[in-house]
């Protein structure tokens, strides 16, 4: 035995890129303060063309990708969306549209169905019209979403409703769940916002307290029991922020293990947050998906376990959580190969403890959050 502890496990074989996330555009009519888009999104390069996306889909499908998510920004802004859906479905993908619902019409819902779209996910900001509008920065947003959620069901799609929760709306979780049940959602994601992109900038104004979180989870469990007793197929998925954990999440199931994201300008990433890392990532304009997934520097940078420093290197839990999230490690410690500071074994765990402490005393109102818009993006990028 050598001094660094147990020997490293053998290099695991590279898995298939089963999930492809196509971020079609960073354009979006909303300005959510927890948006996961990069802070400098307004400075990003030119969007891929229809043909370029077709090539991405074809190559990824040949390599085993089966789930395809269309997201953004707001994917509805792309005029060729129906065409992209049609081609993806023809190739055999299960096609998911992830939208804010803004810009959606009955006509589009029916056109997409004809093109072969399998599922539509609409994201909401809160059950309360006022909080919702404040957060999305648009007055008509909420009424529009409700109407579209009803139309999605009426056209026979399965529906996933996604509510991003945070300290300003999590106490209304019962009303959020009631609303989803009334709309006959098949799945409801109650996701406490994760702190990347704009959410990280606004963390103090968004992170709920432990007490808020415990209460919300208890209420969710009560509804789960009730739904099950009624034989209602609606499934509630509750995602906690990892800031209240002692071990990090196994981010993306491991770097370059099953997820592949392509951003609007064609940059390929192992995770949609990875763009901020000081790592060179390949672009689909220059390389085949085969090269990107198996051979590129970026996708191999944190594969396996060889890259790990201590404490992860000799830790017997590394196959469970892969050392946590690289983006979080980078944002909070300045070095992307460090252990995710959510881990209590990390020497930087104090940052997380401080954030929990801050959550107990935060006084920021919704109006004081930095809204995701071009003006703020340019200011931040230059700053």
């Amino acid at each position: 035995m050598h001094s660094t502890g147990s020997p490293l496990p053998e290099k695991p074989a590279v898995g298939l890129p089963l999930w492809l996330l196509a971020e079609l555009t960073y354009r979006c009519p909303l300005q959510c303060p927890y948006c996961s888009n990069p802070l400098d999104f307004a400075e990003q390069g030119k969007e891929l063309s229809t043909e370029q996306w077709f090539k991405v889909f074809r190559e990824a499908r040949e390599m085993g990708a089966a789930q395809l998510g269309f997201s953004g920004g707001e994917p509805l802004v792309r005029q060729d969306l129906a065409e992209l859906i049609g081609e993806a479905r023809r190739l055999g993908f299960y096609t998911n549209l992830i939208t804010s619902g803004i810009g959606l019409t009955e006509q589009k819902i029916s056109d997409f169905k004809k093109a072969g779209l399998d599922h539509i996910q609409i994201s909401f900001q809160a059950s309360d019209e006022q909080v919702n509008n404040l957060l999305a920065g648009s007055k008509k947003a909420f009424a529009q979403k409700l109407e579209m959620a009803r139309a999605v069901k009426a056209h026979g799609y399965p529906m996933v409703l996604n509510f991003v929760t945070h300290r300003h709306n999590i106490d209304k979780i019962d009303r959020i769940i009631e609303l989803c049940i009334a709309l006959e959602a098949d799945f409801v994601e109650l996701a406490t916002c994760q702190f990347y992109g704009w959410a990280q900038l606004n963390r103090v104004g968004l992170l709920p307290t432990r007490e808020q979180l415990v209460r919300a989870e208890r209420i969710t469990n009560e509804y789960r029991a009730k739904l099950e007793a009624e034989g209602n197929p609606c499934k509630l998925i509750f995602v906690t922020p990892d800031y209240y954990e002692e071990r990090p999440k196994g981010c993306m199931n491991g770097w370059g293990s099953i997820f592949l994201t392509v951003t609007p300008d064609g940059t390929a990433l192992p995770c949609h947050g990875a763009r901020q890392l000081p790592v060179q990532f390949p672009n689909v304009r220059d390389h085949s998906m085969q090269h990107i997934w198996y051979d590129s520097f970026g996708f191999n940078r944190f594969r396996g376990y060889d890259w790990m420093p201590e404490p992860c290197r000799s830790c017997d839990e590394k196959e469970k959580d892969f050392g946590g999230c690289r983006c979080q490690a980078f944002m909070l410690t300045g070095d992307a190969s460090n252990a995710d500071p959510v881990c209590s074994k990390s020497e930087h765990h104090g940052v997380i403890l401080k954030a929990r402490e801050d959550a107990e005393h935060a006084t920021q109102t919704i109006e004081q959050l930095a809204f995701r818009n071009e003006r703020n993006s340019r200011l931040i990028a230059k700053g």
Binding site: L16, Q67, N96, D118, H119, Q121, P158, F187
Partner: protein
Amino acid sequence: MSFDRSQTPNWRPGYRFQYEPAQKGHVLLYPEGMIKLNDSAALIGGLIDGERDVAAIIAELDKQFPGVPELGDDIEQFMEVARAQHWITLA
């Protein structure tokens, strides 16, 4: 309560059963999820078309694999699990 074999299974709307060459097997795809099916589940799944009832599925597999003991029970069990998971509806 005994299982009623005259019920007809169908995939829940938005659930798709298909063969994945890269995984060399059948999967069930649904909103943002995928389940890899084992060989026997894949054989049963391949016969779910909204037309055949459970009895017809049992008869068909019995013809393909004659003499498999408790085939009917296994298929009933698959149906029970698939319904409990809300993968299929039985009508």
